[in-house]
């Protein structure tokens, strides 16, 4: 088993909590893991990414090569496209459809979405609406996205749910449940 995942978004959107849940589930499965993060200056509203590598064999490089990523999981549609050169020909893009516009020259959203739709392997999710429908708070939107990526992760759905339960346990049962509801909403949207 080997999965190279690029997590993308804008500083402050919460890509690292997606990585934390996947990482917890992966370690529990006995997989090797490396996760390179961006700290410092770019966190201030700039583009951020994290390279998450999972494998049943030892992993050397902290970075994913161009053309090497199995999945791009992005909380923002234009940010998903930013890492296109890193995606394998048969790789998947799983992204939120809602733009985060904090620059004056943000491209036409319709065009951005059409570029994503032109890819063979893509999942576009309206994460905020799905979170709301699932009765989860807006902060759980990233868990909807994680749920949508489960079919490509190479880790069983139930193992991810176990990971969420462990990670959010300290925050109480209702937080765990609303995050699980968010994951299920994304998972169901992705399957269909």
């Amino acid at each position: 088993m080997k999965r190279d995942i690029i997590l993308a978004g804008v500083g402050g959107q919460g890509i690292l909590s997606i990585a934390t849940v996947i990482g917890d589930a992966a370690l529990n499965e006995g997989l090797y893991l490396k996760q390179a993060e961006v700290h410092g200056m770019s966190q201030r509203g700039g583009d951020v990414q994290s390279n998450l590598r999972l494998s049943s064999e030892p992993i050397y490089s902290d970075l994913i090569p161009k053309g090497g990523a199995d999945i791009i999981i992005s909380l923002e549609p234009m940010e998903a496209l930013r890492y296109l050169p890193y995606l394998k020909p048969e790789g998947w893009i799983v992204t939120s459809s809602k733009p985060f516009v904090n620059i004056p020259n943000y491209p036409e959203l319709e065009e951005v979405l059409s570029h994503i739709k032109a890819l063979d392997h893509h999942v576009l999710v309206d994460v905020e609406t799905l979170a709301k429908e699932a009765g989860a708070p807006a902060q759980a939107a990233n868990m909807v996205l994680l749920g949508a990526a489960i079919p490509m992760l190479g880790i069983d759905h139930d193992k991810i749910i176990d990971g969420v339960s462990r990670i959010f346990a300290r925050k109480g049962e209702s937080v765990v449940n609303s995050n699980i509801a968010a994951i299920e909403a994304g998972y169901n949207a992705s399957k269909h």
Binding site: A36, E37, M78, E79
Partner: protein, 542 residues
Amino acid sequence: MKKLLLGDEAIAQGAIDAGLSGVYAYPGTPSTEITEYIQLSESRKLKVESSEAKIFCQWATNEKTAMEAALGMSYMGKRALVCMKHVGMNVCADAFMNAAITGVNGGLVVLAADDPSMHSSQNEQDSRFYAKFAMIPCLEPSNQQEAYDMMHYAFDLSEALKTPILMRVTTRMAHSRAVVELIDTPREQNTASAPEDVRHFILLPAFARKNYAELVEAQADFLQTSEESLYNTYTKGSNPKRAILTTGIAYNYLMELKDESQQLKVDEASVLKVTQYPLPKALVDQMVADGAEEILVMEEGQPVVEELIRGMVPSSVAVKGRLTGELPRMGELSPDCVREALGLDKLPTREPDELVAPRPPALCQGCGHRDMYAALNEVAAEHEDARIFGDIGCYTLGALAPFNAIHACVEMGASITMAKGAADAGQHPAIAVIGDSTFTHSGMTGLLDCVNCKSNVVVLISDNLTTGMTGGQDSAGTGRLEAICEGLGVEPEHLRVVVPLPKHMEEIKQILREEIAYNGTSVIIARRECIQTLKRHLKAKK
């Protein structure tokens, strides 16, 4: 026990488990998390047990005070760690270079986190030069596990060789997580015991000459230790004509491609993995004796080893790397550039999407620096050529749109002294913009220069009560900036305080105008808490 740790956290845990008594640091990307991890583990510890084995871990005012305090702790026989980003080495260089002359009593490790590709920095200087400059051993772990293990080794080495040890890491190791296996029983701290021969620590020329002679003599030991180190490994390949030398994390990019490279026979090359310096000459000699005709040097940072081994190998051996174009001359290594250097085909990739626009970092919405710049820009525009000298921090982002406010930004504290130099050259208005933490780090002495010369400058201290850019660490002068400025001799009537909020815009502009008009040194403190730390504080109160 196994733990998922950032490289920085592995370093911190390694130091704790090696019997650390104190960590001294000023925040700087990518080194900040080391000290934060130790602070967090201390605050957890204090809740459950007595403070007997307490580790000192409060932030220092700058890297020089950090280095000196660490040397003092080492003087007393205890183990000390100093952490900084690469450019912090410049700030502490005086103390660092002379600590190599004094030597140590308790183990002393200096951790420099380099930032090749300048993700959050103004240059990509390579700290390994400092180890060579000071003539001390240097360690460069290749992964998180080694970072953890080598911290223990570094303290052992420091105490055995009686010298400070420089450990050098780079961004990709510092900020990448992996599972690290920890030792079962952490080592106890040393008990305090002052040095037997204080002359080692008194660098009068007569004593210093003797110390320096000892340091020169110790070079052979340092080299032998490095050549025998388990952390430097040489593997002769089945085709030893081709050789690859890796330092630090470069080894990972090679190993990543090993399977793939079989068809191209790259895996038949001899490999020398270097993670300890001085460069193990005996291993380089062995590689040549085994028939190396070509050595590809892969190192993160500047071509330090590539230059060094040119003087070690016969001229018939081709040394390749960053200087010869096989690898890029600047920037961090990547799996992609290493692939190319090894002569492997590129992976099939897609073209970048032309729709994607750059998304540079920006000041947060609601940030006080924004209101400060809004007022400053309006007043500056009233002059034909106002010059604004910026400094290092979040407010450096004032250089970008929509503010485009600053005309210089060089290094910590330079805003004040460059504004002074410009005023000396006849510039008016000459305005410095500096944050509170940067001001106490390196701005206070420059302000004293201004006061002494009655320089015609306006110093605007944008005080957000924290060290913002690195994530909101305590700032050394919080609550005392007015007292500090007055103490340095700023005239009370030209020491003004404003609250940068849109509703105070007219007042701030008026004060700026008055102080620009004053022919002398003025300080305006624009004070409002960082909105990131404010959010955190409000949350904690709930």
